[in-house]
Amino acid sequence: MSVFDIYIQQIVNGLILGSFYALIALGYSMVYGIIKMLNFAHGDIYMFGAFGSWAVFYFFANRAGAEWACLLFGVLAAMCLCAALGFLIQRVAYRPLFDAPRLSLMIVAIGVSLVLENAIMMVTNGDSVYLNLGINMTAGFRIGHVSVKWIQLVLFLIAVVVMVGLTLLINYTKWGQAMRAVSEDMNTCRLMGINANKVIALTFIIGSVLAAIAGTMNGVYYGSLKYDMGYMMGIKAFTAAVIGGIGSIPGAMLGGILLGVLEALGTQICGSAWKDVFAFGLLILMLVFKPNGIFGLSETERM
């Protein structure tokens, strides 16, 4: 295997990681675009999604077998759970503070994040739980020296389908239009008769559903779940959203994939101990040289 092949292999591995980042980054980016808030708890919603699908999967798998059907059930249940959770959080914790300084919203989000994370920690006693689908995870095919696992291909394709679906939803439905309008100018939308609160709630719900999908995919791919899995994933996904240009939907997708690939390459070059340093270093460099991200619009300051 040549050096070149090793890098190609890392890019393939990076793509799958990147698609997780992208799905979560979308939630950050959409919420940020609409209410200019860093939803710190988003990473934990992703974690909740992973645990939700795991719990449902085991509940049925122990009784019925047929892992794939059970997993499908699991992911649907997780999507519903996260949608409800996302809605509830924004309704109970965030909405009272929409008009407060951004710092207050951020602190509430941190509080929510602590609650979610530690609730799962109490339930699981801080231990990892394992998700075993009973399929051969290593099966795959080779292109030259580069090996691609079936599971990677399948998960990546699912992520792509979900993202295409989201793009269609945003661009071609009434609600998508309302979301774009609210992110442009919330007050004008209120005057035009758009129920901004409903649109915000919807944004949270969609973001949470995507996080649930990403959580399940992550659980299937790595096979183990832990209560603090949302923390690092959350910061990385936010980084991805910033790289792509926060508030931009294609930006979040591209930023996620890009961060995943760069991180995989960085790991290859610097060693796995420096993996996260590399990712955060990238974030800081990005903010220094291109703070609006790849797709971000430069903001004209308005009085």
Binding site: Y32, K36, M37, L38, A93, P96, L97, A100, P101, R102, L103, S104, M106, I107, V108, I110, G111, V112, S113, L114, V115, E117, N118, A119, M121, M122, N125, G126, Y231, I235, F238, T239, V242, A273, W274, D276, V277, A279, F280, G281, L283, I284, L287, V288, P291, M303
Partner: protein, 337 residues
């Protein structure tokens, strides 16, 4: 309602406040006389969190910047002192200026590019940066890798070893008093007011001539230096320091104290830290659910009492009768400039 206003009037009186300060001070100074080792230990812990809260308050409270990596600032000071003492055999006191300098330089490096940007970016950068600090400390030999640096000798102060509990207690008490002094001086000055203008309305502050990025950076550096100093003292108190200190949980604790006490209010920081330690002692047996409770607390405070537990009171800058006379005399001689 009536009762609460009269209570407020009573608490607002200068004489009440001075009595309060005196009582707290006497209590704090005489505590080692009647407290056992356990209580002194807990009290020391409270003092340590007061230091951190006072430092973090300059960044979060005064300047309204969201810093999610305050524990990394403590680590910078602690590692500077630990490395200089262990590896280079420096005297503890000689390491302090270096610790201040290191904290300030690193704060500048992090702050300069990010403070120009939107507020939320600072949050994520400070968080990311604190991860970088932890990972770098874990992976370098000079910082003792994952196990950290241990066996840091405690300095001798006035012939008494720093390692005796009551000495530790007093040193930290003095530090807290210095930090309070610094906080109050900063707050009641052109600098402190500029920070507050900025926090209240950044555009208006800019229009009044406040150099926003510069003042943000100054606040960020001051807060970081205070954290670094606290870290230096923490390192010699513990005798060791390891990367496991630098966690988001630790930073979140500090933020919680600042929010609980009331952002920007110095006495609030003292009360917040005390309450936090008391809560922690109470919930010691509850174990895992402690953070859960803190999380809920954070949400509830922000929604129902965003100004924190310490009551709001604006300082009056209006002149007293005597001052008014002096001022008017001066106006007559100088005219309106």
């Amino acid at each position: 309602m009536k009762q609460s206003t009269s209570l407020r009037a009573f608490l607002g009186k200068r004489s009440t406040q001075w009595t309060g300060i005196l009582v707290v001070l006497i209590f704090a100074v005489t505590l080692p006389l009647y407290a056992n080792i356990y209580v002194i230990g807990v009290a020391w812990n409270a003092l340590f969190y007061m230091l951190l809260a006072l430092g973090c308050n300059v960044i979060v409270g005064y300047a309204g910047l969201c810093d999610l990596g305050y524990s990394s600032k403590v680590a910078i000071g602690a590692y500077t002192t630990a490395i200089l003492m262990k590896t280079f055999g420096w005297n503890f006191w000689a390491t302090l200026p270096v610790s201040i300098l290191a904290s300030a330089i690193i704060a500048c490096l992090v702050g300069m590019p990010t403070l120009r940007l939107r507020g939320d970016y600072l949050a994520i950068v400070t968080l990311g940066f604190s991860e970088i600090i932890r990972l770098v400390a874990r992976n370098l030999n000079v910082t003792g890798s994952a196990s950290g640096i241990s066996g840091i000798k405690s300095p001798v102060i006035f012939g008494v070893k720093f390692s005796t509990p009551w000495m530790q207690y007093f040193i930290f008490l003095i530090l807290v008093i210095i930090f309070i002094f610094v906080s109050l001086r900063l707050k009641r000055s052109r600098f402190g007011r500029a920070l507050e203008y900025m926090r209240e309305d950044e555009d208006a502050a800019r229009a009044m001539g406040v150099n926003v990025p510069r003042f943000k950076l100054l606040a960020f550096v001051i807060g970081s230096v205070m954290g670094g100093l606290a870290g230096s003292f923490y390192a010699v108190k513990m005798g060791s320091f390891s990367p496991s200190y630098v966690t988001f949980t630790e930073s979140a604790y500090i933020l919680l104290i600042v929010v609980l006490g009331g952002m920007g209010k110095t006495p609030g920081m003292l009360l917040g830290a005390t309450l936090f330690i008391v809560l922690q002692e109470i919930f010691r047996n509850v174990g895992n659910s402690r953070m859960l409770i803190f999380g809920i607390l954070l949400v509830l405070i922000m929604i129902f009492r965003p100004q924190g537990i310490w009551p709001d009171k604006r300082p009056s800058f209006l002149p007293s009768r005597r001052e008014r006379k002096q001022l008017s005399e001066r106006t007559e001689t100088h005219g309106t400039g």
